[in-house]
Amino acid sequence: MHISEGILSGGVLIAGWAVTCAGVGVGLKRTDPAKIVRTALLASAFFLASLVHVKIGPGSAHLLLIAPMGIILGWAVFPAVLAALMLQALLFGFGGLLVLGVNTMVMAGSALAVYGVFGRAVRERGSLAMAFIAGVSGVMLAAVFAGICLALSDSGFVNAAKILAVAHIPVALIEGAVTAFLVAWLKKAAPEFLS
């Protein structure tokens, strides 16, 4: 889902950084200083889990875990995603620094949207159907946001953006299943985690 360096226009890059800075500001303000350690450790757990490749037929894919991050972290997802993507760029040389703003906006924005729409249903009722839909929606929203950023940079990217969205459908379905299984497990093993 990472958008590479050199593709996006100046306006989109600046807008991405503006949205990310605003999101990180609100996220940090809403995060209780006593909860910073918890946020950081949960961010590292999600970061590590998203690096694990799941075999699908002859190939493999790594999950994005957008919906679980949004549902568990809430507004803190913005600083957590920015920290994770920044570390990916600085420690492993993977992903870009200039597009960090847009990539954070795409991932954290969709996680936050999932939190806003499905957060209450999943956290309070532990609804598995809602968790599945949340998982699917998280990936598809991120693909749509990335597509919008590409299309705003140049109208020629519209077809590539459509391919990007279609290519993410299998990942979205898998992510939906993982989110539903995760919610079911947390409901049984640690219900306080969802409350």
Binding site: S4, E5, G6, I7, S9, G10, L13, V24, L28, T31, P33, A34, I36, V37, R38, A40, L41, L42, A43, S44, A45, F47, L48, A49, V52, V54, K55, I56, L63, I72, P79, A80, L82, A83, A84, M86, L87, A89, L90, L91, G93, G96, L97, L98, G156, N159, A160, I163, I174, A177, V178, T179, A180, F181, L182, W185, L186, A189, A190, F193
Partner: protein, 188 residues
Amino acid sequence: MMIFCALCYAFAVSVSSSLYVLLAESILPVILLCRKKFPLPYILKLNVINALMVITLALTWPDLREGLMMGMVIAWRVNIIYVVFAALVFPLGLGAVYSLAMPEKFRVLVILTVRGIFILRDSLDSALVSAKLRAPDAGLMMRLKIFAYVLGSVLIRSANRSERMTQAVELRGGFKGFMQDRKGEAAC
């Protein structure tokens, strides 16, 4: 300052569409390539991905030739930006985070996230190896279920561990003490 300059340079490269301007902007990466050692396998891998991107753009752009040109310009930009970042920013590692003017809360979050990655990596790896040994021929749904359960247990373990870490940070004088420690100044 170095990071800021690298970001400004990368921004200038990103918005350039003229081939002459891109040629002029390639001078700095060429000098950097001559002066520093770069991980060649990584650059090769980057250009394999670039080649795929060029093909995709050529096939999806309204005009094949225009799409091919656009793809090649983007690939060129990617190489320039990567070399500049690899030479000026990536060697700083986490030092880059400390040198940027960021809120203290965010710096603490980044430091603890790095620490968390090293703390949790082993437990996640061992849980996944154990699951693989117990169910080597599991179908896709079972593998996803196992992955979700492993993720759940790692999340709970990290939340429990965070409570102990928070208490340790508080005992050392809170986050103020935490940052003083990082700067090499004794917290107490």
